[in-house]
Subunit: 570 residues, 2 copies
């Protein structure tokens, strides 16, 4: 039997609820967004008791389907003021899926300023006061909790940034090795968790239980077909496992879309030093790991373990976005340094994209120089200390820009952009502008079309990809299955049939895509009630006015073109 | 001939333009808002070149009509992101009205970071580089400029806060004595002026010129009738000249609407020490001045000159709002101290309301204790210095609250509330919530109905008063004429006929009120294009959930009731 676990922090009570019929075929983002819409008053203060924090695996979560371990977190965002979902890898989604947990809903607010941990096992839910964890980074937090609860445990925790309720605070989930390298990165969800007084969620190993599959044998066969299709596709089958997502560095830099020095150039003169190829070379020469799966059963294996010259782990899940935002965007061209910054952000519970944008802004303001690695370390430590400058930076790019009088703020709906300058990738700009999440590359990325040299109609693609990405997020499958899913009929058919076999139904591709569309509609509706209108579906003025070197492009897509995307969601 | 003066800071050119026909019967807020709507792209960054700063006297400005000297300033607000107008007293509006200046429009942005002064006389417009004024307070700035340009000059200047483009930066106009005590207070218009590189506008005495009046003799007779009506009304005739606006302290405190310690109580135990009665007693005993007119020809004379024990001027135009926000809201119950804080804010170019709210928030956060006068002085000086904490505070209540993790932020649309807790004055809450300006007491205040003990239907009143207030702002008449205007037929008739006599037309009361309605429509339209929707027409959550001592009221007017006000403006 599937269930919803509700944790009320007002009175520290937990209860198990049946799954409403309308939620049965929903998972991950499609479910968190529906619960946000149904339960959270859109005008509430995101850091107060009326907000809720929801975790949900996808509808294939916990099954043996490959790469189906994504776990979504949703809430009203303290950063954007709108609806928010972000997902992370690691085995947490699998475990909750195995236990039949459709969603965790954390609501209310403790009467006293205390910290708690939430322990979830297949047959119990407990809240335990844990003041001893206050102020700890996610590395120490997870180390202590894994020591206490066993190394098969997944820990989902916040760092000092989340405790301080900062807008750039993320939530860290442990990977297969128990390191907190998988991030629910965007929108300040760590601050929501902090406002609920939850320092960590301990998801215990459910052991040998599995979600109920209506047609078990058929399901296993379909998994085989689907896995083959993923491996056959060059991107999901080998490129990411060989080079990680950092493989994008060279390509994006090549066509001048690589954010450099606070989005003032699209090419970075030291790109080669921080490329995927270089990273793989370094990792291999030092005995780290590339082609690392963030959870058992992942066949894409985009993750990695980045080690220092002595072979000691610096960071893991070291990704393209972080390398750009903490690297080229700050004028830093040394992978070891960027890896250290990535580690610091993960440890303190900070979104690398938001913080990279923040630091680019204060460098433009002259607080420190571009390229000043030591200055960056010092500022990130200020965030952890909660000093006044640290509190400003921790609030994210939009507030930092205002405080420092900088008008070149690369953000939409209050959230910083990822590592693609929209002036050079029109469709990414269209997605940044229209996504209900704020500037979010995962919402629907048209990057590959540029890499293939076939950009096509970028407005149509941004609309189409947002629906596809959102639909895919219902399943809990990693977004990187999409390279196979949307190009290989075998992949799509086997995925649809896996869902069908699990629930004993037939699912058409149209019904599958409709999950995406309906979720976008719900999200847009929530945002409207929370105070967004069409005027928010736009890029900051400077992208429209300032030419991006070296190809001197401005973002010249008129906002009214973007309505072609959003009018489908009304 | 009336004219519009346009100053282009891109190329430092100025030009004189004819007044478009549609602008002829518009003045002050009704004109600035129309120009904002017609000329400013709603999505522009408020601190960049596409924003414009507009000054306009009312349609009776420069005439001999009493108390007709208000000057409006308008722009897109860097604080709220929406349309903004605020007006100030002092003789500036009279002078521009005499010169036939319908509006000054300052646009563009200097290519180099330089400061300029703009010199306006009846026959010339000049821009002069004035780096020597950089960093000066408004007191020193005006002193220098009056010394140079003569003591009949009106100076409109910004302080360091405006130069640093802070969201709480105001613009100071000199009063009849040449002191910078009259503030265009709200919404960060000082920052817009700073972004244009204008340190000060010097309005030279036009001498013996007058605006053209079609029926001059009739006009003079009507002025007499209108003046009599103002004097006959107890509020405009004597209460304000005897006690200043601080007369409200006792009344508002009495019915528990007096914001105290960051809006956590509606009564202040030291209210008596900071009341209008006390202020008048102090001023009279020390040889200061009550019943001071901010410009020649004012019969209401609500202003004052507050002096220290040696009879030296501390501050002028010392008003109820400042006394509450810098006094009770900070737990400070000493008028001398509050007067010093008022002086500092005026000198640095800071809005006393916004800064009072900011300081209440950081006191709640524990940065300093409530009542800590020295701590407040230190923090206000930090703003002037542009230190990091200073830059945060200077950005206003909403950003300060976020940075310090405080969720009790008394602001609407990003702008802090004035000195009336909406939980105890329902209609003021309705005006705060719905005004296109953000929380603004001048937009339509139902306070008097509570003072009279006849609150009536506060939603209807908030709607009605907003239309009336806005209509009145077309004229340049002080808002305090409204006590007579809307209760005494002689006042209304003579005012309508004065306008008629000036332009040689007939104006009905309905046509007069229609100016207000049409302006509100235009403002709401601009705000919609700038990103506001109905969800912004609400009060912060804590007013709806937290009981206000001592009468334990919450704000229980449902948001849908407020639509009765705003649907008239669609």
């Amino acid at each position: 039997m599937e269930k919803i676990i509700r944790i009320n922090m007002d009175n520290l009570e937990t209860k198990i609820e049946e799954v409403a019929k309308e939620y049965q075929l929903l998972g991950a983002r499609c479910l968190t967004s529906m619960i946000v819409f149904n339960e959270i008053p859109p005008l509430c203060n995101a850091l107060e008791r009326n907000n809720k924090l929801i975790f949900a695996p996808g509808i294939l979560g916990g099954t043996i389907a490959p790469s189906s371990n994504r776990l979504s977190a949703g809430a009203k965002s303290p950063l954007t003021g709108g609806i928010k979902e972000c997902s992370a890898g690691g085995p947490g989604g699998q475990k909750l899926g195995k236990m039949g947990v459709k969603a965790l809903i954390i609501e209310g607010k403790p009467k006293q300023k205390k910290l708690y941990i939430l322990i979830i096992s297949h047959d119990s839910v407990k809240l335990i006061e844990s003041e001893n964890l206050r102020g700890l980074g996610t590395y120490d937090t997870t180390k202590k909790l894994i020591k206490e609860y066993g190394n098969k445990t997944t820990v989902i925790s916040i760092g000092p940034a989340g405790e301080m309720k900062m807008g750039s605070a993320n939530i860290a989930a442990t990977d297969a090795e128990g390191k907190p390298t998988r991030q629910f990165g965007r929108g300040g969800l760590g601050a929501v968790m902090g406002s609920k007084g939850i320092k960590a969620i301990v998801v215990q190993d459910p052991g040998n239980i599995h979600p109920h599959i209506q047609k078990d044998v058929e399901f296993k066969n379909l998994v085989r077909t689907f896995t083959k299709a993923l491996i056959k596709n060059p991107v999901s089958g080998s490129v990411f496992s060989n080079y990680g997502t950092a493989v994008l560095v060279s390509a994006i830099n090549e066509f001048g879309a690589f954010p450099t020095r606070n989005f003032s150039s699209g090419k970075f003169e030291m790109a080669e030093n921080i490329s995927g190829e270089k990273m793989t070379e370094i990792i291999k020469s030092r005995g780290g790991k590339v082609g690392h799966p963030c959870a058992p059963g992942c066949v894409i294996k985009c993750s990695n373990i980045y080690v220092d010259k002595n072979g000691e782990e610096i960071t893991g899940g070291f990704e393209y976005e972080s390398i750009c935002l903490l690297g080229s965007n700050l004028g830093i061209g040394n992978l070891d340094e960027i890896a250290q910054l990535n580690r610091l952000c993960d440890d303190y519970g900070l979104d690398t994209i938001e913080i990279g944008a923040v630091l680019g802004i204060v460098m433009e303001a002259g607080l420190i120089e571009f390229g000043d690695y030591k200055g960056v370390v010092r500022l990130i430590k200020e965030i952890k200390e909660g000093s006044i400058i640290g509190r400003v930076l921790g609030q994210g790019a939009t507030i930092t820009g205002k405080v420092f009088g900088i008008t070149r703020i690369p953000a939409v709906k209050g959230q910083a952009m990822a590592a693609y300058d929209p002036r050079a990738i029109i469709g990414m700009g269209a997605t940044y502008a229209t996504s209900p999440m704020g500037a979010d590359h995962t919402a629907g990325a048209s990057v590959m079309t540029y890499i293939k040299g076939e950009p096509g109609n970028q407005v149509n693609l941004a609309g189409e990809y947002q629906i596809k990405s959102t639909a895919l997020e219902n399943t809990g499958l990693c977004r990187f299955v999409s390279y196979a899913l949307f190009t290989d009929r075998n992949a799509m058919d086997s995925m649809l049939k896996m869902i069908g076999a699990k629930y004993g139904i037939n699912i058409s591709e149209k019904a599958f895509l409709n999950w995406g569309l309906e979720t976008l509609k719900i999200e847009r509706k929530f945002n409207k009630l929370a105070g967004f209108n069409e005027a928010h579906d736009t890029l900051p003025e400077f992208f429209k006015e300032e030419k991006l070197p070296p190809y001197n492009k401005v973002y010249n897509l008129p906002d009214k073109e973007l309505k072609k995307i959003t009018e489908q969601w009304e």
